[in-house]
Symmetry: C2
Subunit: 140 residues, 2 copies
DNA sequence: TAAGATATTGATAATGATTCTCAACAAGGG
DNA sequence: CCCTTGTTGAGAATCATTATCAATATCTTA
């Protein structure tokens, strides 16, 4: 398995708990999840797993590049498996629903930045807020 | 004063503490500040002001549209006065310095979204990470 | 300008997410 | 199978932010 190789090549060990956390993320690809949500589902695969272990696994996965942190500006952080497919989210300020957005204009902006500044951009984060189609009609 | 009017028109009262917090933000326009940073400076203008009051003022100012929340993905939130000048920040992952960026390609992206989805975008958040000119040379 | 209704404040407790500690445990190379 | 060492779970500790609540300040009205 891909995860297994990434772990061992860096001296990390493969464990039942890490497999569980990764599988939960993989089974929910494209859906940002909180640590607590991951914990609940991971318990079905690795009974007894603790929240600290979930946090440790998520952090490690980001370091290994197999997961991504998704900043939705809520109290807690969200994570999702890194499928290599670049995308962002549009969050409805009315119902909280999240829609994936595949378009991204960062390339153009990064060109501008390269030309006009001395800053080297290596990553970006984009979030969009507004109203989803279900909430638009009754928008106060 | 502008703040004074915005407050009273909504039934809020003008207080020494709110003036202090606002002045601190205004004197540091274009520099995202944490509540604790605001507190320290606000104490010079309104001795005795507490951290809870700072948080309450910041929240209120965002509601009134005179301040903005800036998400830098740190543990604490940052705030700055809303000067009406749209911008974002580039954060150096090496030294933590922040550079203001005036360019923004959201307009184009919002057009795409309007054409391709039913979502109505009302606001966005953009963050850029990378290396500032001082850190580029020694970049590990 | 005094009085009253009520918005606001400061101190402090409470909360919630995340991180830390540490002894018990498990992975995997030899 | 053994041993070294990475990993785990429980619970304490942190840290930012929010909630409480009695005391106080503001602003409108008389
Ligand atoms: Mn981000
Ligand atoms: Mn934001
Ligand atoms: Zn909605
Ligand atoms: Zn730098």
């Amino acid at each position: 398995m891909e995860l297994s190789r990434r772990l061992s090549s860096r001296g990390y060990r493969r464990t039942r708990q890490r497999d569980a956390v990764f599988d939960v993320l993989a089974e929910n690809a494209g859906r940002p999840m909180k640590a607590e949500e991951v914990l609940v589902l991971a318990k079905e695969k690795a009974p007894g797993i603790g929240i600290a272990t979930v946090y440790r696994a998520l952090e490690l996965f980001v370091e290994l590049g197999v997961a991504q942190q998704v900043h939705l500006h809520e109290r807690s952080q969200h994570y999702e498996v890194d499928t290599g497919h670049h995308h962002h989210y549009m969050v409805c300020v009315s119902c909280g629903s999240r829609e994936q957005l595949d378009a991204c204009t960062m390339d153009k902006l990064e060109d501008v930045i390269k030309d006009e500044t001395d800053f080297l951009v290596t990553s970006h984060c984009l979030g969009l807020w507004g109203y989803c189609s279900s909430c638009l009609p009754g928008k106060a």
